[in-house]
């Protein structure tokens, strides 16, 4: 991906979550956002995914040199349609089967015929070993299975970019491994993605670029070897010392 962010600010009411963030990621395949809770990682990801609006006065955000038009809801929806987003809480539709969760955007957003959509959806579910669960509802699936269905839903539309917002934070270690394997696979097949995570080891493995956010600003940015193993700023050192201790 070629991503450029200039002077991005975001506040909720009186609370400022992002303060004039600027970042350039050129030819980066995996951008991983780390940092303490409340540091602004998820908000940044959600702005990039077109789910939150930057404050007035923010600079442009461009993907492949094309700026995102946040004032235009249609353009924003068009952006959301070309990316896949996976949330911490899975966010599957509970009234639909796993298969229907995947076919819903294929049919009603991307205009595939139901037959074609079903084939694409089954392909995606098969990939993550979910074929036998295709006709179950989310309540009948384990957390790891749900998250893999959510990932299948995100990749079935052949997105140009994937967003993962703490995809394993709600999972136990075994299920976490299940989901991280899937993300690593996607990385290996060359898909671009932005990932927010607390798993430092995994961040180091899949990232081309790591940004450490704290207090709404980027405290440290660069390749994982530099940010995680050799941080310069005090905030980054303190944060990494805390999380890598155990």
């Amino acid at each position: 991906m070629d991503l450029s962010i200039t002077n991005l600010s975001k506040s909720f009411g009186t609370q400022t979550v992002l303060r004039r963030i600027s970042l350039v990621a050129e030819r980066a395949q995996g951008l991983v956002l780390i940092g303490p809770s409340g540091g602004g990682k998820s908000t940044l990801l959600r702005v990039l995914a077109g789910l939150e609006y930057p404050d007035r006065g923010s600079g442009p955000i461009t993907f492949a040199s094309k700026p995102l038009d946040f004032a235009n809801e249609d353009a924003l929806r068009a952006h959301r349609r070309t990316v896949g987003t996976v949330f911490q809480a899975f966010n599957l539709f509970p009234h639909l089967t796993a298969l229907a969760n995947v076919t819903l955007p294929l049919i009603h957003v991307h205009g595939h015929a139901p037959k074609v959509a079903e084939r694409l959806a089954l392909e995606a579910l098969n990939r993550f070993h979910l074929a036998e669960h295709a006709h179950k509802r989310p309540a009948e699936l384990s957390g790891g299975q749900r998250q893999r269905v959510a990932i299948a839903r995100a990749i079935a539309i052949k997105p140009r970019l994937l967003f993962f917002d703490e995809p394993t934070s709600a999972l136990d270690p075994e299920m976490t491994a299940e989901v991280l394997e899937v993300i690593e696979e996607l990385k290996e097949e060359g898909r671009d993605f932005v990932l927010v995570t607390h798993q430092m080891g995994f961040a180091r493995r899949v990232a081309d670029r790591v940004a450490l956010l704290s207090g709404g600003t980027i405290a440290e940015y660069g390749p994982p070897g530099q940010v995680i193993d050799d941080p310069q700023s005090e905030v980054a050192k303190a944060f990494l010392a805390r999380v890598l201790k155990y």
């Binding site: 949330f87 966010n91 009234h95 839903r153 539309i157």
Partner: protein, 262 residues
């Protein structure tokens, strides 16, 4: 012995044995029956069903009219309820406040005064002369306010994460309602909706004040002709129960079912 009369403890795996259910039900029924038999016995009532039987056609006709009015109002009030619930969530502020005023006005005033207001003021103004149409309109207007609150609660009960997810996959607002919000809200709203339908059927009896020949009005008429007042009103009660009981039982079943699904 205990298990014949008491439900198993909370959290115990066993269901209530069918025999205990039947026994409990029969006892409850007998107690109620005894109370009423005693009351009627004290009254030393000389029952006179024969004149009532002579006017059976009136009861049957009224019953039919009540069913028709109820079905028509049920459909119209549901449509009104959904529309006003959506209006209440509209970003267009006058529309939103219109919906709020409507709900508060209807819930805060007696149905009786709404019926009279519609009949003497609104209907003539918009040139509706047929009293059955006025009746159905009033009843739908009335029940619609309650239904809109039920629908609104159902919609608001859908988690923010669901709406977020719908946005993330690129659904439009209309598609989000159609594929994500309504199917889930509908399931949540069914039990209170069914309860509202029971009320609607009973409330239709108030339309007798504008002389609709529905069930209650016809029962009143027969009672004033035959002087078999108690008989007529007993019959009236049984008639309404025949309509409302199936809906209540259906509601119970729905609540029972949704309890296990989530």
């Amino acid at each position: 012995m205990r298990h014949w009369f008491f439900a198993p403890r909370e959290g115990a795996e066993t269901a209530i044995p069918p025999a205990a259910r039947a026994l409990g039900f029969v006892i409850a029924f007998l107690v109620l029956g005894a109370v009423f038999t005693f009351a009627f016995f004290r009254l030393e009532m000389a029952w006179s069903w024969e004149p009532v039987w002579r006017y059976r056609a009136k009861f049957i006709e009224g019953f039919g009219v009540t069913i028709l009015i109820s079905i028509a109002s049920l459909i119209l009030s549901t449509i009104a309820g959904v529309l006003f619930a959506l209006a209440g969530r509209s970003s267009l502020l006058p529309l939103r406040y219109l919906s709020k005023i409507y709900v508060e006005f209807v819930r805060g005033t007696p149905l009786l005064s709404q019926i009279l207001l519609f009949f003497y003021v609104v209907a003539p103004a918009i040139n509706v002369r047929d009293r059955y149409t006025v009746g159905v309109m009033t009843l739908s207007f009335f029940a619609g306010a309650y239904i809109s609150e039920i629908v609104r609660a159902g919609i608001e009960g859908i988690g923010k994460s669901q709406i977020e997810s719908a946005r993330a996959i690129g659904l439009t607002t209309a598609q989000t309602y159609r594929f994500v919000i309504f199917p889930q809200a509908f399931k949540q709203s069914l039990p209170p909706l069914a309860g509202q339908f029971v009320s609607l059927i009973k409330d239709s009896s108030l339309l007798s004040v504008i002389a609709l020949n529905e069930f209650a009005k016809n029962a009143q008429e027969v009672s004033s002709i035959t002087y078999s007042t108690l008989e007529c009103y007993l019959l009236l009660a049984v008639g309404y129960l025949l309509l409302t009981l199936p809906i209540s039982l259906w509601t119970r079943w729905l609540e029972h079912r949704t309890k296990f699904e989530t």
